[in-house]
């Protein structure tokens, strides 16, 4: 479990990250979503015990940053932004080296290397030098490196970057398997679709966390959700707009041909009351559908459309 409270990092006069507070439970995939320069990598580096926070505290499976940083590094697997492999070594030699740095030795090391080369589909390229690998192949070896020592906590920075759709799905499925094994996983990504598919909760950040919620909760944040109510009767939708204006949970409503388009904050909670109110007012309803905003809309409304942070 990762517990972060008030984390801050200054680089001279630049504040990269401030007031970061969140938790990631065991068996949870937490996404960090934000534009370039939002502080995602800095946050992960602090949590992985690589750099020291300027202020705030964090603990990883009970080990505090600072005095527990070496222990934290031992139980952490990290996929860095760039694969950072040793080009002149083979895939197997790369993994064996990192296995040794994580304390694996002998047959345990050999088995772990073979297993994870297989997991990422690189067994047949195991004894080739990395220098000839494609971007996707490097990414696969880097993923194997991050998981080799069976870490309790895993940070994945753009895990499917450079992978073809099939390999990306394999990685996503494997990450989901890790979740089922009780690992706490943090995924940094720009890929909204991937974040939505993979993450249990997402934190949208830009220097600090702007909002943390489930993907569904974040989507609703964008512009509130819209519910389309299709009518089938003599009375046109315009005649119900007045009644909708009286409902406290309705934030806006328009009529389009035979359909009422109703905006409200929490459709799962309020749709039954909406339907009841319309039926009581004499409406004949033939269909109700929620038109949820996309995660992209929610993201842009929080972060703004400017890619880079000042």
């Amino acid at each position: 479990m990762i517990v972060v409270e008030g984390l801050r990092k200054d680089f001279r006069r630049l504040t990269a990250v401030h007031d970061m507070s969140f938790t990631v439970g065991d068996g949870e995939i937490f996404g960090l979503l934000g534009p370039n320069g939002a502080g995602k990598t800095t946050t992960v580096r602090m949590l992985a015990g690589l750099i020291t926070p300027t202020a705030g505290t964090a603990s990883v499976n009970g080990h505090s940053l600072g005095e527990g940083s070496q222990r934290i590094r031992a139980i952490t697997g990290i996929l860095t932004e760039s694969p950072g492999l040793h080009e002149k070594l083979t895939a197997r030699q790369n993994l064996a080296y990192y296995g040794r740095l994580y304390g694996l030795r002998g047959s345990v090391l050999r088995q772990a290397v073979d297993r994870y080369l297989g997991v990422v589909g690189m067994a047949e390229h195991a004894d080739r030098r990395v220098v000839g690998f494609s971007k996707g192949m490097r990414q696969k070896v880097a993923i194997a490196r991050a998981l080799l020592h069976e870490p309790e906590v895993i940070y994945l920075d753009e895990p499917t970057s450079g992978l073809d759709p099939s390999a990306a799905k394999t990685v996503r499925d494997f990450v989901a398997t890790l979740r089922s094994l009780g690992r706490a996983i943090v995924v940094c990504t720009h890929n909204l679709d991937e974040a939505e598919r993979l993450c249990d909760r997402i934190g949208i950040m830009r220097g600090t966390l702007l909002r943390v919620d489930t993907p569904a909760g974040l989507r609703r944040h964008g512009r509130g959700a819209t519910v389309r109510v299709q009518l089938n009767g003599a009375r046109g939708p315009h005649s119900f707009l007045g009644r909708l204006g009286e409902l406290p949970f309705v934030t806006g409503a328009t009529a389009q041909e035979d359909t009422l388009v109703v905006e409200m904050a929490d459709p799962p909670r309020d749709t039954p009351d909406l339907v009841a109110a319309l039926v009581a007012a004499g409406a004949r309803i033939s269909g109700v559908a929620e038109e949820a905003p996309t995660l992209e809309e929610a993201y842009l409304s929080l972060v703004g459309e400017v890619g880079e942070r000042d």
Partner: protein, 263 residues
């Protein structure tokens, strides 16, 4: 410091080095050149049976070798005088390897995954230092041994004894490893601040200047080789420089500054 981690880094660095033919060439080539020039001169004198009076300026240095025939004394002067350049190998080669190793990893961004493991920075540096220093020490010792025996075989066994003098055996045993260590540390310190191996080697290159200065002063001063006192003073000086460089290195090469100064 955990020896298993140092060995892991060392073994990886050696694999890397052995696969880099250009860098291996850079280790062997200077050593062979420094040995080949005087050996060629000795062979030339031997083959041409020169009159010592024809040896010109060298004649005045022959007094360094009382008891030797003039021709052999001239060869002895050449053999021993060039040996100061053996100290250039440990000064130049390890720095090239160390700066290539550190900056190469900065550019390839392979330092971050290593620093994300339980590996301590001191263990990383110890492994890298050993891996960078050892080839130069081995090359210097190897060429030194070959140089002594080859010149003895070409001219006279007494040349071998001149090469393997107490002074030079002491210099090889102490000064060569110390210069290697200083060179590596300097290479690492400079490499932690720049992102181009050539810049690092140029900045670090000043380490060879005192050695060349000593060799030139020795030649023009008419001294054939170092004295034991000079070797021991050299040990102390280089030891002091190592201490200063280690203090600077511990400040320059901490985990955070490496990551935040990467290329």
């Amino acid at each position: 410091m955990r020896i298993g981690y140092v060995i892991a880094v060392f073994a990886k660095e050696w694999r890397d080095l052995l696969s880099n033919r250009l860098l291996l060439g850079a280790v062997a080539f200077p050593a062979l050149i420094f040995a080949a020039i005087p050996t060629g001169l000795v062979a030339f004198i031997q083959a041409n049976d020169l009159d010592p009076n024809q040896l010109g300026q060298i004649e005045q240095y022959i007094a360094n070798f009382p008891g030797l025939p003039a021709k052999l004394a001239a060869q002895g002067f050449i053999v021993t005088n060039f040996m100061a350049y053996f100290l250039l190998i440990p000064a130049m080669v390890p720095m090239a390897i160390a700066s290539q190793s550190v900056i190469g990893e900065k550019v390839a961004r392979s330092l971050e995954p290593q620093l994300a493991t339980p590996l301590e920075v001191s263990e990383l540096l110890a492994g890298k230092t050993l891996a960078a220093a050892l080839p130069a020490v081995i090359a210097t010792w190897g060429v030194f041994a070959g140089y002594g025996y080859l010149n003895g075989a070409i001219a006279d066994p007494r040349l071998t004894r001149l090469v393997f003098s107490d002074v030079w055996l002491t210099a090889m045993a102490t000064l060569v490893p110390l210069i290697c260590l200083f060179s590596v540390l300097l290479g690492i310190v400079v490499s932690s601040r720049v992102n181009d191996p050539r810049t690092a080697q140029q900045i670090g290159g000043f380490v060879v200047i005192p050695i060349i200065a000593v060799a030139v002063a020795q030649f023009f001063g008419g001294q054939a080789t170092f004295s034991m006192e000079q070797v021991l003073i050299g040990d102390l000086l280089v030891g002091g420089l190592i201490g200063v460089t280690m203090i600077i290195g511990s400040w320059a090469f901490d985990r955070e500054s490496i990551l935040t100064r990467m290329a």
